[in-house]
Symmetry: C2
Subunit: 493 residues, 2 copies
Amino acid sequence: MIANADAYTELMEFTRETEALGQIAGRLGWDQETMMADGSAPQRAEEHAAMSNILHARRTDPRVGDWLAKAVAADEVAAANLRHIRRAYDRTMKVPARLAAELAKTTSLAHRVWAQARADEDVAAFLPMLSKVVDLRREEAACLASGGDLYDALHDDYEPGSKSADLVAMFSALRPRLVALRAAILDAPAPAGLTGTFDEAGQLALSKKLAVAFGYDLNRGRIDKAVHPFSSGSGLDVRITTRTNPIDPFNCFYSTIHEVGHACYEQGINGDYLLTPLGNGVSMGVHESQSRIYENQLGRSRAFTGWLYGQMRDTFGDFGIPSEDAFYATVNKVNTGFIRTEADEVQYNLHVLLRFDLERALMAGDLLVADLESAWNDRFKADFGYAVDKPSNGVLQDVHWSEGLFGYFPTYTLGNVYAGCLHEALRAAVPGLDDDLARGDTTRATGWLRANLQQFGGLHEPRDTITRAAGFAPTEGPLLDYLEAKFNGIYGL
Amino acid sequence: MIANADAYTELMEFTRETEALGQIAGRLGWDQETMMADGSAPQRAEEHAAMSNILHARRTDPRVGDWLAKAVAADEVAAANLRHIRRAYDRTMKVPARLAAELAKTTSLAHRVWAQARADEDVAAFLPMLSKVVDLRREEAACLASGGDLYDALHDDYEPGSKSADLVAMFSALRPRLVALRAAILDAPAPAGLTGTFDEAGQLALSKKLAVAFGYDLNRGRIDKAVHPFSSGSGLDVRITTRTNPIDPFNCFYSTIHEVGHACYEQGINGDYLLTPLGNGVSMGVHESQSRIYENQLGRSRAFTGWLYGQMRDTFGDFGIPSEDAFYATVNKVNTGFIRTEADEVQYNLHVLLRFDLERALMAGDLLVADLESAWNDRFKADFGYAVDKPSNGVLQDVHWSEGLFGYFPTYTLGNVYAGCLHEALRAAVPGLDDDLARGDTTRATGWLRANLQQFGGLHEPRDTITRAAGFAPTEGPLLDYLEAKFNGIYGL
């Protein structure tokens, strides 16, 4: 028998080891995307499976249930740790092992089928697999929802406490103003784009300088190249990746700043929370708020782009943009396009809103997989004003659904909304911030974010995390006001 | 109850997952030496500990004992798998958990104390820790030996089936001829050494070319820089490291070829043995036979160095060595020195023999730790002809004893002896090999090694592995004959 007083201690010792193993599993993923040779893939799949089995066994270990039943929280930190551990344990125990295994197997297969279908522009080839994934996730959601909303049950994995009713209200307020802003921008004369090529060594050197300028600590991480940029790891080993494109150095620079936002959140968490449930960013939405405020509200500001303009001229010489003001417009140029991951600040959320509505309808049973492509194309035309030309530019463009990640998309827009709120509060708290940014100095901005948000890790619930930092409950107004002011200025609307 | 017929299958499924986890643990070590930032070290220590606990729990899982009791070997492969699993399980179960934990803790601490003592040239600071390590390893050896020889019980971990009585006879035959050869060489006029500097990019490019020339498959591995070169991993993901020194490119090239020998052994094992106990090199000595025959008998041969001479001139221009013959002598130049890892083919084994005799005496209780330094210095003077000048050049030079690796050193010389035997057999089996090597073509040489040794992995016992490949039981004669012929030729003795 475990004494109540020891239960929390024993649970946390066990959890700490699980968190350490989770870090190893994450680094295995990092290695696969950055270092591993192609021929190692079959063995790596077995290594991943072995690690997943170990982690699953620990997460369903009956001792965790015993400890949770007896553990007493002595303080706020302990209460938060127990909340995280209990939520994860309850969630895992609600899903039958048979279903969890079938989901893992099906999504792994569906991912490969999706990649091939996208390459072949063949929606029909993907739909049977997608149907299976949808059915399994609906079955899982039913296990989790206890009679509640199926979509919310899945979304809760990524943004605990967030409800689709609130999202619907928020996103409904976003959509008309974003659609209108987008239309006005595309009717106005476009600023110049970049021309010419930018050498890779210069891009990588400047992207490293940007990472350091935004406070990324290379003594507890590293930067490598990857096909799709990502940040990985928590605590003392948080690594980022970037990529280069000879004609589009902004892709490199703003991918880097985005991932630095994620990484600085992880690096900025109170060191006392290392390898505990509090030692990770608290949700996908809050995580995205950090990557987005670094990338957009700070990195794409007039002040900071003024500094970046000088850095690019130092690195690449005269690249044909005549002034800081012109460069600011070029950085923020709004282009027509189909792809979410390439979208600018104005159009990005329209992409997410489209996916949110479609995946909610799929989970509710109101939209059949067979009708998904036409639903996508109709909605795209309505919001963007032109038709999808091929499936890889439409319903097949994102990896998420093939991996079963229903409920994930709205966290992107939540993150942008959160970033809007944080930015408003930051500007109020740090007068003269633009003078800093114009020198490439983000110290006060990132310091404010660390002090008011990042350091707390998982201590508070996601929405509460934002409310405490911003000083008000999250709402879409600040993001919309910011976007309209910024783009009205750039486009002279 | 497990049916006997299923026991082997279930045991192998469990073992396969353990092997996969072992590969992950090994890659964590690779990452630490090549990729990890310094500031990540404290977290990494916890990750290592978590992984060690998982592996230890699996290795002592009572189900392994049950399966072993019931499993029936249907063929030679199954019998070999059971032999490996049983040996590892019996070994682990013989050592009390308390002692295993104390050894892990003490050697981890002793390693740090040793590093500091070596930096400070302070033997006395290391001896108390070394005493503890010696005592604990003697205690462990007593658990393992069941009344037999303590040293053999430890040595068996690295070279199963090898006995110190045999090593004593073999090494006693080596010593006088090596001492005499060394003395004669150093009395003769010395060949020219390298002068000038060799740029790093050129060294790394040529070292990669050498790796490929020796058959290393970069599609199932990669080459990085590390402070101390090593090879790691098995199966489909075998990685090597190298290092560069601007005035000593041979360090880079021959480190690379050495590690390629280890790596090609792992890459050359029958793919059916992937993630089983047979899918790893069978012992340290057999492993070293591959690294050494690649590095020395092939890589430092007159024929191959002729090709390398041309490659170096293509890469670095004229570097002051006038001919292939002169270059061959430069590559094989015998220098006085104190450090084992920098020693040439002639002197290397004298270093190992010294350590073997001292560590056997320590384990037998015939030599006290307090007397170790003077014993080292006396023996060094007797074999090498001059006195050790400082502890970092003497008793503090090697990491092994701080980590408790008693019984490991002789596998280096066993590897050289094995390489001598294999080389004799290879030359008989592949006439005209020097014509290949003179073109930088090792295909027939490495093909013979793969066909006759590497592919079998852990199928046969170590000594048997050599006997089957060479066609005769391993003996020191071929190595000595080879060394005397080679160096008599170079030095005109």
